[in-house]
Amino acid sequence: MPSERTLKLVAIGTLAGIFSGLFGVGGGTVIVPLLIFWFGYGERLATGTSLGAIVLIGLLGALAQGGLYGNVHIATGLLLSIPAIGGVVFGTAIQQRIPQRAVSLLFAALLVAIAIQLIIP
């Protein structure tokens, strides 16, 4: 019988995959709150671990879309990744200098923005 922790990991992975399959995103919006609520992770550990999981989830999606359907614009994606990578280095650096609860509040604001975007047809 697998432990409760294992079952929760299975649930998070599956839910993140469902979200990714439905909306074409990485799944971080699901992973971060569940790691906080179910595992009692601090916000920094939750966001760091979420990014690690997203590498694998995004890789599978990108390989499927690029390999099977040829939908990935590789040159455009690589060029646009340069400012995006600069941004993530900056974002993680700022995150170490603000209180963890501020990260929670920022995440809540992101969720409200997503909800509004989904509600407006």
Partner: protein
């Protein structure tokens, strides 16, 4: 000009990703469709490539700061394909509007939970 705006939004997507631990696709997809003229499917696919690179660098930085549980991250990532299959099946069975509204409700509920938790005396 459009290329500059796309680059600026990509930069913001990366900052958001680093701050709250998401890949940034929420911003990458509109940058690719609105400013660079990709179709929705091409944008979502290209966004996935960007998400991989951004998440890889972000996760490496967080590991340096001591904020990465590699075992849990790998477990979640490896288990996700089953969820993707379920998601594709659901997307074909349930109306898109019902999905959007139920996820909006869920997002608001989780946001409420996070705010309530952040308000408690010690986290």
């Amino acid at each position: 000009m459009d290329e500059l705006l796309a680059a600026l939004i990509a930069l913001l997507g990366g900052v958001a990703g680093g701050l709250v631990g998401v890949g940034g696709g929420v911003l990458f997809v509109p940058a690719l469709t609105v400013f660079l003229g990709l179709t929705q499917v091409e944008a979502e696919s290209t966004s996935l490539l960007m998400i991989v690179l951004v998440a890889l660098v972000g996760a490496a930085r967080q590991q340096g700061y001591g904020n990465l549980n590699l075992r849990d991250a790998v477990a979640i990532g490896v288990l996700s394909p089953f969820g993707v299959l379920i998601g594709v099946v659901i997307a074909n069975e349930v109306s898109q509007r019902a999905l959007e509204l139920s996820f909006a409700a869920l997002a608001l509920y989780v946001a409420y939970g996070l705010v309530r938790r952040a308000w408690r005396p010690q986290t």
